[in-house]
Amino acid sequence: MSNNSKKWFSLNLGRKEKTSSGSCSCGKTSGGCGGHSNAHQMTDEAFNEAAINASIGEERTKDGFEQVFDVKMDRRSAFKKLTASLLIGAGAVSTSCSVISGDESKEKAQIDWEEQFKGNYKLMTDKEKEGTVDRLVRSYQLRTGKNISMSSKNAEEDVLFGYAFNISKCQGYMDCVNACVEENNQDRNSEMQYIRIHEMKDGKGFNFNEADDNYYHEVPAQGHFYMGTQCFHCDNPPCVEVCPVQATWREDDGLVVVDYDWCVGCRYCMAACPYDGRRFNWSKPEVPEAEINHNQHYLGNRMRKKGVMEKCTFCVQRSRAGKNPACVEACPTGARIFGNLLDPDSTIRWVLENKKVFRLKEDLGTEPKFWYFMD
């Protein structure tokens, strides 16, 4: 291992910037590539150790490489799990061995390798977070030639985000939905939307069975009222409880976030959420290059891949910079109020203390931080 502080084995593909440590000396014709065999040694060691004293309970404190390899399993399933990693390794090795492949493709292979073996974002140190963000930015640059900015900003102290929705103000224009899709780089093909605006009949109360969340006629329609739902960022989120790989969690500022690179796509969280707040990428999300929002956050609107969950993050890339989420900014009626629940002088606190507020399915104990109120 070239770097002791890393939690996973690093490849050195003999790129110009780094001095060669000889781990991949492809001048040799016999014995294959050093980098490849080295990778095998690592996994064998990890495997042997795992067979003796692995236990699943330790997974909570383990990170990255250890969480994948340091568990009890038979040889067959172990090899199955290794296949994907080895494919990337093989790719990396073939690139490094190739005489004609340029420095860029070597760098690309190196980034792919490092990204494959990085740990869960939740357990990363700030330096590791910066590392993965830098790699993703560079990888995007190598692939598309375009620059993006990606943040790994952590939760601010003394901040707990909360949201209030004024039912009597919402007119059902859906400008919020538009803004959300554009801000968060959601898949255009499947028309994924985090926000749903429900058209409800006057006099029927909150009857979601009879409500229409996909209307297209002039609004506000006579005899109807409108209300929006999205991820409520519960303080006691059931989606987090059920995630088998801890790819989703509650941040200190109350945001419930997903590490798209750690998510295995089992959709347990989707089933656990009582508010239909989560969305799944059934196909590879595609956004036209010109429409991509380049101001990104690792936990927010960076490009997702096929087979992972995503959801509203209260626009973490905006809210952690002091801005309002895109839906709040887009709403022409001022029905959406966002702010810091811990600030006694904030407008959201005034709403909670002075208006008659309620939340959906309060009896479930999920403690959503999304309140509804009326004038």
Binding site: E191, K323, V351
Partner: protein, 209 residues
């Protein structure tokens, strides 16, 4: 034998007692509800390093204090194209209504309350067009025109001061800047127009068929 059972009983009781203390200490149950948590954790709130000042730099704002609330609202006079009004309104209104003068304000159709309650001079001062006037005849500056609205819309005014009515500008972080009444409502026609939704989800429609 009896002694042994007694000791066993004591051990069992003691371990139950211990368990009750140890196992029920879940961190997440520290507060009964999120409202309790907000109340407790905001007691020693000292502010954050966040500021939305940068997002307000593009608009001209003025600071107002109403009751216990102090916040920013957009400056208005520089946004009214035909201000100052006295640039045209140099003569009393009666003289300006004559036919040989150029027509003005033809695009304004009053749709605010009814003719019984309101007309132009309910808010505009025919003697000094550069200011508005209250119901009792006091001058109201165009920049603080909310003072005109709050004569009738008292409930909305309370909500606006607190932040439940009216849109925030910039970001959630302090300083607070809110739209004032006339930034969203046309004072001559204050209701929101009905229109078509911004989008329709065709995929959702297909899935549900």
């Amino acid at each position: 034998m009896k002694n042994n059972i007694n000791i066993m009983n004591k051990i069992v009781c003691f371990s139950f007692f211990l368990l009750a203390f140890v196992s029920c200490k879940h961190h997440e149950n520290e507060y009964h509800s999120v409202t309790d948590k907000i109340e407790a954790e905001s007691k020693d709130y000292h502010g954050t390093s966040m500021s939305s000042e940068a997002y307000l730099s593009e608009i001209k704002t003025i600071e107002i204090t109403e009751g216990e609330h102090t916040f920013l609202i957009p400056e208005r006079k520089s946004q009214i194209k035909s201000y100052a009004c006295t640039e045209c309104h140099s003569k009393p209104l009666a003289q300006m209504k004559s036919k040989d003068l150029k027509k003005a304000h033809w695009d304004i159709k009053m749709d605010h309350a009814n003719a019984n309650t309101m007309n132009c001079v309910t808010c505009h001062n025919p003697d000094n067009m550069d200011d508005l006037k209250s119901l009792t005849g006091h001058a109201i500056d165009f920049n603080t025109s909310y003072n005109l609205c709050n004569q009738c819309h008292t409930k909305q005014f309370e909500d606006w001061k607190g932040g439940a009515h009216g849109k925030r500008i910039g970001g959630w972080a302090p300083p607070r800047a809110s739209m004032t009444c006339v930034n969203c409502h046309d004072p001559h026609k204050p209701h929101f127009e009905s229109r078509w939704p911004a989008r329709f989800n065709t995929q959702k429609e297909k899935e549900r068929k």
